[in-house]
Amino acid sequence: MTKLIIILLSAVFINNYVLSRFLGICPFLGVSKKLDSATGMSLAVIFVMLMATAATWPIQTYLLDPNGLGYLQTIVFILVIAALVQLVEIVLKRYIPSLHKSLGVYLPLITTNCAVLGVTILNIDEGYTFIEAMVNSLGSGLGFFLAMVMFSGVRSKLEGTDVPKNFKGLPITLVAAAITSLSFLGFGGVIENLFA
């Protein structure tokens, strides 16, 4: 149990996908302008990360590894994720239209999101069990959510500030991201010592 909590908290705070692993930077910079789109995008990412792990972990463990096909990982995972996202979208549209309305537009974007492919590959690389892999995916998704929501707050402040001409737009956003990321460095070592 302690191990699961450590995995969850490290995924959220220490190895934060956006701010320390640099995965999923595109949506982080692209969709973080407004709080509601940031929330929608991150909820969709959490959802797809969990689904993708639930699908890819068994495929790797019971299908690819026993047959010596481990090297097909990259191709199989990206295809599974792409197909899964399509499937989820169709199912949501048919059965839970309200959820589709709030998450639907973000789902197709996630297919080529490196955070989702990254979490599935890392789960295998770290040698997690199924439960650990699911917890890690949940933590990674929550970490993405936290970073997106925090950063959309930072950005709304940036909108109204007078920045030097050459820093307008992306450069000042990146500098703000650097400071946000700096705040996450403070979590280093906290989680391990919490349970020591």
Binding site: F22, N113, N166
Partner: protein
């Protein structure tokens, strides 16, 4: 457009990292040392070259409706090949790049060039475009890695630099330094391309999901700046 222009546009005018702002994830993650940056640039260039050539050769065969899935499968195949080659011949680089090597699959530069260039142009032009873009990517990565390694670690390609080695700013090699140096570089690019005032927003031009992305933002009452 002649061959030379076709090649050189990727280096400066349409530099994929600093001007088009594509492939930010590997740029930030692997620019901690010059050696890693060169390795990543080379690996991505090889994948880009292969995918551009094959996609251009198959541009009349691949049905328009399923082109993105086809491109992804082709790219994933080449990435797997590169991954195996790196594992076999440069295990140290494989360990250093780690997860970012398989993640070349979702690098926007590669899918972007397939979508924007290779499916409309001849094989030779596509190959030249791939080499130019690959060189531009490698150059930008190397530039960023040089700044981060020299000032953050006091070394250049592992060799210590006299004064800086004792007075390095370690934060530059950590995550915040990546964002910071990247921001400064883009600001510098803005400064020197100031004669052509271009509204620089996040560059999704080459991203295959740009169209949907713009819609997603519009639906939420956000201006379509992301999609510019």
């Amino acid at each position: 457009m002649n061959t030379l222009q076709n090649f050189s546009k990727g280096l400066i005018k349409e530099n994929p990292v600093l001007v088009l702002v594509l492939g930010t994830c590997p740029t930030l993650a692997t620019s901690t040392s010059v050696t890693n940056a060169l390795g990543m640039g080379l690996a991505a260039t090889v994948v880009l070259l292969c995918s551009n050539v094959v996609i251009s050769a198959l541009r009349k065969v691949i049905p328009d409706k399923v082109r993105i899935p086809c491109y992804i499968v082709l790219i994933a195949g080449f990435v797997t090949m590169v991954q195996m080659l790196v594992k076999a011949f440069a295990p140290a680089l494989d360990a250093a790049l780690g997860i970012y090597l398989p993640l070349i699959v979702v690098n926007c530069i590669i899918l972007g060039r397939a979508e924007m260039f290779a499916n409309k142009n001849k094989v030779f032009d596509s190959a030249v475009d791939a080499l130019g873009m690959g060189a531009g990517f490698t150059l930008a990565l190397a530039l960023m890695a040089t700044i981060r390694e020299v000032f953050g670690n006091g070394t250049f390609m592992g060799l210590p630099i006299p004064v800086l080695a004792d007075n390095h700013i370690s934060i530059l090699t950590m995550a915040p330094g990546g964002f910071f140096v990247f921001g400064l570089l883009i600001a510098a690019v803005n400064k020197f391309s100031a004669n052509k005032p271009k509204k620089q927003e996040f560059g999704c031009a080459g991203c295959p999901s740009a169209e949907i992305c713009g819609k997603a933002c519009l639906n939420n009452g956000e201006e379509a700046a992301v999609n510019d």
